[in-house]
């Protein structure tokens, strides 16, 4: 077996010989592209009939080919970064759910500008009155910090080991989306205590949104609930942080890991 890739079945040539319409060509090209990477055929077939129980055969691994088994282990921590970010995510989810019992997303209660609001007061209450509350908030915050750090390092590991190549492009893009969502997670959580830094970080967010051409004002309305910050902003950030993002991110992580499961981990070379 040579190292060169097999190309006995030239799907593209077959495609050309077919005399298809533009729609058909586009459809088939997409289908072939996805199938080459994710082997949809196997899963659709399993759905169609239980007859074909095609067992995928893994090619000889690079580790085997170059006899790298004995020098594999010291890469291991780099390969656990993805799993570590999930662990930190779970820890943040659990501590966040507990914080949710005490936090109130409300700007009510401030008699004058600069007075503590209900949100700020509930944070103070969590930190001073709730049993274990100070530690709970600390855990939630640091779990988030560790998650972001792990996610960034995970991306660097994938980049520098070339693990995003041929069958794994889809997962790389999914990862980019997940990083953006993680940052949005962090940002929305940063706003919730409604302290000075939260407020002015959100202010920068609004200004950025408004600076965007065409969709800017719409985005500011959608994300921040208006052009000036207030109760609407806080509630929107809260819903984003505790309802929208958890579902979206969890689902995307599941798909991300599922694809890794299907395609296998790219080995160190």
């Amino acid at each position: 077996m040579s190292l060169k890739k097999q190309d006995d079945m030239d799907h593209n040539a077959w495609l050309k010989s077919q005399d298809l319409t533009a729609i058909e060509t586009a459809f088939l090209t997409t289908l072939i592209w996805l199938d080459k990477r994710l082997r949809i055929v196997d899963y659709l077939e399993l759905l169609e009939t239980m007859y074909y129980r095609a067992n995928l055969q893994m090619p000889k691994s690079h580790t085997e080919q170059y006899d790298l088994d004995n020098k594999f282990w010291y890469w291991y921590p780099l390969y656990s970064l993805g799993s570590l970010s999930i662990i930190a995510y779970l820890l943040a989810a659990v501590s966040g759910a507990m914080l949710g019992f005490y936090y109130a997303p409300s700007t009510a209660g401030a008699a004058a500008q600069g007075d503590p609001t209900a949100a700020y007061d509930s944070m103070v209450m969590i930190m001073q009155d709730v049993q274990f509350g100070f530690m709970l908030r600390s855990i939630h915050r640091w779990a988030a910090q560790f998650m972001v750090a792990a996610v960034f390092l995970h991306m660097l590991r994938v980049y520098f080991t070339g693990a995003y190549k041929e069958p794994r492009e889809v997962n790389w893009i999914l990862g980019v989306v997940l990083i953006a969502l993680t940052l949005l997670f962090g940002f929305s959580g940063y706003v919730l205590p409604w302290k000075q830094l939260s407020f002015w970080a959100a202010q920068i967010g609004v200004e950025l949104a408004l600076a965007t051409p065409i969709v800017g004002e719409w985005a500011a309305q959608l994300l921040f609930g208006g052009f000036t910050l207030g109760q609407a902003t806080l509630v929107r950030m809260y819903i984003l942080h505790v309802f929208v993002l958890p579902f979206v991110v969890t689902a995307l992580i599941a798909i991300h890991v599922g694809i890794v499961w299907v395609q296998g981990i790219a080995e160190p070379h």
Partner: protein
């Protein structure tokens, strides 16, 4: 079935008069369920193309499997239980322990309540957004046009947003720009250098975001923000190029030891 001579009894149904949609539809028995090839032949258009391609795909799989020199055997590797599990548990507990330790010794900052009336001297997001915040401070290199009397073309905020878009765009496109089988940084010094440039740029942009904490003239800092990444990239490239020969020699030697040329 019914005619005028037959009196209506409760044994008969007037088909024209019935409003319940008729007798139940026939469900094909199991042996009449269309087979794969039936369905393929009945389908048309895109569905048929899908069937055709999947047949080719499956045949390709079978061919490859038939040609493969792969022999099924017991896998020689690290067993999942207990070795792998214990290693994962160890790493996980260490990581969780680190979070809890840091959380207990480094309590998080908590400042004054929000005040729309007074802008604080220093506005900062969390550390992981410093690079992004730094991108918003690129106004000195926001191009202006002489014909506009030195007016900038896009607002500084929009300029920062475009920089974000460019960075995310480039990162997304990486798998489509860098193809091939190379995996190690030494095999592709250029891409490794680009990666190092990116990492250092993220750090220098973060420094730009917290420029107040650095007693360096802004001009100099601004130059460093872009010079350091390039310098880092060049050094990486040079080092990897130098290392490459040795690495490739080693890899090739291992490969030919396993598979001597015929």
């Amino acid at each position: 079935m019914t005619d005028d001579t037959t009196p209506m009894t409760d044994g008969g149904t007037d088909d024209e008069a019935r409003t319940d949609g008729g007798p139940p539809a026939t469900v094909p028995p199991d042996d009449e369920t269309p087979t794969w090839s039936d369905r393929k032949e009945r389908s048309q258009g895109l569905a048929q193309l899908t069937y055709q391609y999947f047949e080719r795909s499956r045949r390709e799989d079978e061919d490859l499997r038939a040609e493969s020199t792969y022999v099924e055997r017991d896998v020689l590797g690290f067993p999942t239980w207990p070795h792998e599990t214990i290693r994962n548990l160890a790493i996980t507990s260490f990581f969780l322990g680190m979070i809890l330790l840091v959380a207990s010794i480094l309590p998080s900052h908590f400042g004054d309540p929000a005040n729309a009336g007074s802008t604080p001297a220093i506005i900062l997001p969390d550390w992981y957004l410093y690079w992004s915040f730094g991108l918003l401070k690129l106004s000195p290199i926001n191009p202006d046009l002489a014909v506009l009397g030195g007016n900038i073309i896009v607002s500084n905020e929009l300029y920062g947003l475009i920089a974000h878009g460019a960075i995310f765009g480039v990162i997304t496109l990486v798998p489509f720009l860098n193809k091939g089988n190379a995996r190690r940084p030494v095999e592709e010094p250029g891409w490794a250098a680009l990666g190092v440039t990116g990492v250092i740029l993220a750090i220098t942009l973060a420094v730009l975001a917290i420029q107040n904490f650095f007693p360096v003239p802004l001009e100099l800092l601004f130059s460093l923000v872009f010079m350091l990444p390039v310098a880092g990239g060049v050094i990486t490239y040079a080092v990897l190029k130098t290392m490459r020969e040795g690495y490739m020699y080693d890899l090739n030697r291992r490969y030919y030891m396993l598979r001597p040329p015929k």
